[in-house]
Amino acid sequence: MSTLEIRDLKVSIETDQGTKHILKGVDLTINEGEIHAVMGPNGSGKSTLAYTIAGHPRYKVEGGSITFDGQNVLEMSVDERARAGLFLAMQYPVEIPGVTVTNFLRTAKTAIDGEEPSIRHWGATVKDAMGKLRMDPSFAARNVNEGFSGGEKKRHEILQLELLKPKFAILDETDSGLDVDALKIVSEGVNRAHQETGLGVLLITHYTRILRYIKPDFVHVFVDGKVAEEGGPELAERLEDEGYDRYLVAQA
């Protein structure tokens, strides 16, 4: 069984005001097939965790470890991590002018699988996956994320999740900026991937809204770069009622 293990992770970034310590010792273990929600107020370090797992160069690991089935993730390049089976659905996917969705998906699939997808089946697979996410077929000919609405960008992220079939997915505020219909469609995509491939999910969110559609097995509350409380789905319900004030007051 695959396991993603984060131990005592400490991460900083460089800012104009100097080094800023964001993660101050995070422990988290996610097993294949589990859904973990990471919740917390703005600035608590949720997105930093996501980008550090994916290997974004801006985030400097000061201490601790990330291992994936015993491999040291921190020694792997960004693309090696992806090929090992880690996937980050980004909050703000960037535009890539001149690169069509079709070309991008095929290139990524080829890189992940180590061989070109079958010409016969790939086109139909993409079309089918787009249909399930209610994406217009004309999307395939557009340039990656260029002129996409917020909702379209998020669907495109989940499309990649379904096509690339990673072992673990980190969803960084995938729910932000989505209306109810889009939220449902995107959530269905995540649930499909979870059921079909035994995907492990790290769901990062500020709000409990998405947890109505994607049911977490575990909930972790992030405050000031650390896990302040952990529990089952009931913790999310409590947050829905009480918000994060309790943690912030305790901190003060």
Binding site: P57, V94, T107
Partner: protein
């Protein structure tokens, strides 16, 4: 030098009316003038040369006399090299479009290394549509003028491809006059040649005229690729978009983009935006990028410009790498994508595929 409105720049068809080129003039100061003396002042062969083109419905191609009524209809040289060409050409190559013309590619590949002058006319009848590709290959030392004349409601794309041999020297002035409600899409592709300077201008002469001017270029070590673009909004409700994108790689790779936009007093309701973006792939390169916007009326829809020269966007690389794509391949995709954005505007699949391959080859050589 005194500040001068763009429309009052000196122009003449006669070589001797221009002062000697010192290399300090605004229009020459970025160019390697000393390597261009032959073209600026030398004697030029102005005879017709071999052109290749297929039959295409709605088009005619013929050599016409200097006295042809449309010679001079679109513009007048603004520099001494262009005037030298004008003074020297014997016959003009006239490409005529009528009705719904088929795509026409005119190729010249055998100009040779003697200094030469040329004059080309592309004219489109009222309401004509079509796409003309001017494809330049091989060895050349050429200074030339191209005139594009669009009558009312014509909608024409002109693609000028410079895929010369490495030693070629090429100076071109390309003048377009765009009539009532007509639309010109003009695309420059400069990849090959030692010095290639193509200066397009679009005169939006009548109400509702539109121009989309695009350019894509890739300068290797020692290569000088230049374009001085001028859009003259000279009538109400005219619209223009200028987008030039370039890549530079290798020691001494030099690109120049100057984008002048003039919104004249009569050009109320003008809508214009021009931009130049350069991607620097190595040390030792130089990209000059100079947008100029001159506005003589306050009553416009919009006017803007942008210029950016930089290295890779790391966020784009991160995004692609986060999908398993190795760094090398990700860089290749980003650069190709960056430049392909212009190629995608051509709308001619065979040429697009060829240019894509040419860009791939440039990138391959850049490794």
């Amino acid at each position: 030098m005194p500040v001068q409105t763009r429309s009052e720049r000196f122009s003449s068809t006669v070589h001797s009316e221009f002062p000697e080129v010192t290399g300090r003039e605004a229009i020459w100061k970025y160019s390697p003038v000393d390597k261009l003396r032959e073209l600026i002042d030398g004697e030029l062969d102005g005879a017709p040369y071999a052109v290749l083109y297929p039959e295409a419905a709605g088009t005619t191609v013929e050599w016409v006399d200097r006295s042809h009524e449309l010679v001079g209809a679109a513009g007048t040289p603004e520099d001494r090299a262009a005037a030298n060409a004008w003074t020297s050409f014997e016959k003009a190559l006239h490409i005529r479009l009528e009705g719904e013309a088929e795509t026409l590619t005119v190729t010249r590949a055998g100009l040779g290394d003697a200094p030469r002058a040329a004059h080309t006319l592309i004219t489109a009848a009222k309401g004509a549509t079509g796409l003309v590709v001017l494809d330049s290959q091989g060895v050349a030392k050429l200074t030339e003028n191209l005139e594009i004349v669009l009558e009312a409601d014509a909608n024409v794309t002109v693609v000028s491809v410079q895929e010369w041999d490495d030693t070629a020297l090429h100076l071109a002035s390309q003048f377009a006059r765009i009539g009532h409600g007509a639309t010109l899409t003009h695309i420059i592709v400069s990849l090959g040649g030692e010095i290639v300077r193509v200066n397009p201008s679009a005169h939006l002469a009548e109400e509702g005229a539109e121009a989309e001017l695009y350019g894509v270029y890739f300068a290797d070590a020692g290569q000088h690729l230049e374009q001085q673009v001028y859009v003259n909004h000279d009538a109400p409700h005219t619209r223009s978009r200028v987008t030039y994108k370039g890549a530079l790689n290798g020691d001494g790779a030099h690109t120049v983009w100057i984008g002048d936009v003039l919104i004249g007093r009569t050009a109320t309701g003008t809508d214009t935006y021009e931009q130049n973006r350069n991607l620097v792939l190595s040390d030792g390169t130089r990209a000059d990028s100079i947008p100029n916007l001159e506005i003589e009326t306050g009553d416009i829809e919009g006017a803007g410009h942008a210029s950016a020269t930089g290295r890779f966007d790391d966020e784009q690389l991160f995004y692609l790498q986060a999908r398993g794509i190795p760094e090398d391949e990700a860089r290749r995709l980003v650069v190709l994508g960056f430049l392909s954005e212009i190629v995608q505007k051509i709308g001619e699949p065979v040429l697009e595929a060829r240019l894509h391959e040419a860009l791939e080859a440039e990138l391959q050589a850049a490794r």
